[in-house]
């Protein structure tokens, strides 16, 4: 593509997005804006996870821990600084997240697959426990910490409309950056890691460095999203964080297509919308329907059932296919179809071992 055509494409995208945001801003009620914002906040974590799982091939269950770290950063920032709390908190979260991610990356050098997933689970438990101890020994044990001072200098980000603009801008930056990275050397190196680590190593890719970078970068994004979430909600408390969030994220990235950045964003917003609306749908079910009473009361369980069916269904459906479930998200990669063949036996053999050569 010539430079001018690429430039034109960019301008069109930006204009298009501004239009979308503007339309949302003007036409949606506060309730819907809140829903969309929640979805956008989820999108950051979803992008991180879909890149990690879909492009680099590493499983992680550490999202909860990272979000908690982000939340803690928000609380700390709000307590220390008032007028620049938002960016300050984000900075702390980014640093903490990067460090945590780098450590996780180091662990990923020695462990593979489920061992890595279990370690990330261990991290989550430890972080949440520490958080709980700190919170319950403080004066905030019941109400949680306050993070309402969401200011960027003189601008106060209050109200859903302001959040929409902020999140949209940040998200666009993240998406653009991510896609650039994925198209570049790092992205291709990661794909090498995912498919055949031995071959990648032979090709001169510094496996260790790439793994650490992958973890550090994605962890930073998740942590920052945790900070933003905290400011958006206004309070931070350890009981906001639960292991089921991890499964939510996995459901989202499966829906959007493993490895698809745009798909992750779309799926996040969809997920948020469905979650919001499901309650209404269930309560307005005709009472003649069986289980209608139970369904309306147990919204959370219905979501669980749907999520579970979704994950399994999409995996079964997209087996061997290289398109994502969200058709307009251009996924060229599906983890199932591009995994090179290993014999049935060798799969068990290699994976059982921990530690790379």
């Amino acid at each position: 593509m010539t430079v001018s055509r690429r430039g034109l494409k960019w301008v069109l995208c930006v204009l298009g997005l501004t239009a979308v945001v503007g339309v949302c801003d003007l036409s949606l009620s506060s309730y819907w804006l809140y829903t969309v914002n929640t979805g956008l906040l989820l999108a950051f974590g979803a992008i991180a996870l879909t890149v990690l799982v879909g492009r680099v091939g590493l499983t992680s269950m550490a999202h909860v821990a990272l979000l908690a770290v982000g939340g803690a950063s928000a609380a700390v920032a709000a307590a220390l600084v008032s007028s620049w709390a938002l960016p300050f908190g984000s900075l702390i979260a980014a640093i903490a997240g990067t460090i945590a991610g780098a450590v996780a990356g180091l662990a990923a050098l020695r462990l593979s697959h489920f061992y890595l997933a279990l370690s990330s689970l261990a991290l989550s438990y430890v972080v949440l426990y520490i958080f709980q101890r700190v919170q319950f020994n403080s004066s905030h044990s019941e109400t949680g910490y306050s993070a309402s001072a969401s200011n960027i200098g003189p601008w106060a980000i209050t109200g859903e409309r302001a959040w929409l603009i902020l999140l949209a801008v940040l998200l666009v930056i993240v998406v653009v950056l991510t896609r650039n990275v994925l198209k570049g050397y790092t992205g291709r190196a990661w794909m090498g890691l995912r498919d055949r680590e031995i071959v990648a190593r032979a090709q001169g890719i510094n496996v260790a460095r790439e793994k650490i970078i992958a973890f550090a970068a994605t962890s930073a994004i998740v942590s920052v999203s945790g900070t933003l979430s905290a400011f958006h909600t206004g309070t931070v408390s350890v009981d906001q964080y639960d292991l089921s969030m991890v499964f939510q994220y996995y459901a989202i990235i499966i829906l959007g297509g493993l490895g698809s950045v745009v798909g992750a964003v779309v799926a996040s917003v969809l997920f948020s919308v469905v979650q919001a609306e499901l309650g209404n749908v269930l309560t307005s079910l005709p009472t003649s329907m069986p289980l209608s009473n139970e369904l309306s009361l147990r919204e959370g369980s219905v979501i669980d059932v749907l999520m579970g069916l979704l994950i399994v269904g999409v995996l079964l459906f997209s087996r061997g296919r290289s398109r994502s479930f969200v058709p307009w998200a251009r996924t060229k990669i599906s983890v199932v179809s591009t995994q090179r063949f290993r014999s049935y036996r060798n799969a068990g053999r290699c994976r059982r071992g921990i530690g790379s050569t």
């Binding site: 063949f341 014999s343 049935y344 036996r345």
Partner: protein
């Protein structure tokens, strides 16, 4: 012995196509093997020989290959493709190229696990009869056996099941020439004794020629030449003709050149 008639066709493979994710490894294999006959397919690495054998047995769900076309019949009856279970039930047994025994099980347990329903002791003793040296190692873990012993075990297990057709993939791989010769001879003797059809795949064409009745040359998924061998003096020239089809002059006793 068994009710098999010598010379009667045991297995007929027609137009077999095997593909791995879209790429054809075997493109139209047609071959017949009769009871008491030893047929060997030779070719270089990657010619599709192993895929051909696996294709005759069939691929289970989750294995990467697939039989996309072709018919395999044993004793006149068609076997459903891609069903190892049906093939085994129809009387086909295969000794694969790699991982031919269960390393974490003992020799005895290897026999026991592979024995048909309600047979246990009988199966083990039948198998140990075939290769008495295994008897000495019956309580050893199969993973600790030498290459030759593992091969013996694998062949013994397959033979003890009294199959109609035995497929052996690369019997000679990794074994010393003396053991190869001995194993091949043993195999041929059993084959004649039990009137079973034997289909071998080999890179060591010369060693296989010593025991084969017929030899097929395979290249890039298709059979390109076929020669009758047999224990006559004509075996030498026939073998040369066959091997020259595969390209390159081959010395007596040498392996086929790999690509």
């Amino acid at each position: 012995m068994t009710g098999r008639t010598r010379g009667r066709v045991v297995v007929r493979v027609e137009d077999l196509h095997v593909s791995y994710g879209g790429a054809d490894a075997v493109a139209g294999l047609t071959v017949e093997v009769s009871a008491g006959e030893v047929v060997t397919i030779v070719g270089i690495n990657g010619a599709g020989k192993t895929s051909a054998l696996r294709g005759i047995v069939g691929f289970a769900r989750g294995e990467p290959g697939r039989v996309t076309r072709g018919v395999v019949s044993v004793s006149g009856r068609r076997i459903p493709p891609n069903s190892p279970q049906a093939s085994v039930r129809a009387g086909i047994r295969m000794v694969p190229e790699r991982d031919k025994v269960f390393s974490s099980l003992t020799v005895e347990e290897n026999f026991l696990a592979s024995s048909p329903k309600r047979e246990g002791r009988g199966f083990i003793s039948r198998g140990l009869e075939l290769f008495p040296e295994l008897g000495r190692r019956r309580r050893a873990k199969a993973g600790l056996l030498s290459g030759g012993e593992k091969q013996m075990l694998a062949v013994a297990i397959a033979l003890a099941a009294d199959p109609d057709l035995l497929l052996v993939d690369e019997l000679s791989l990794g074994l010393a020439p003396a053991i190869v010769t001995r194993l091949m001879k043993d195999l041929r003797d059993r084959c004649l004794e039990l009137n079973l059809a034997l289909l071998l795949v080999e890179q060591n064409a010369v060693a296989a020629a010593a025991i084969s009745d017929r030899m097929l040359a395979m290249q890039q998924g298709s059979i390109i030449a076929e020669e009758q061998l047999g224990p006559t003096k004509a075996a030498g020239p026939a073998l040369h003709r066959l091997l020259s089809q595969l390209g390159g002059g081959v010395q007596d006793g040498a392996q086929l050149p790999s690509n």
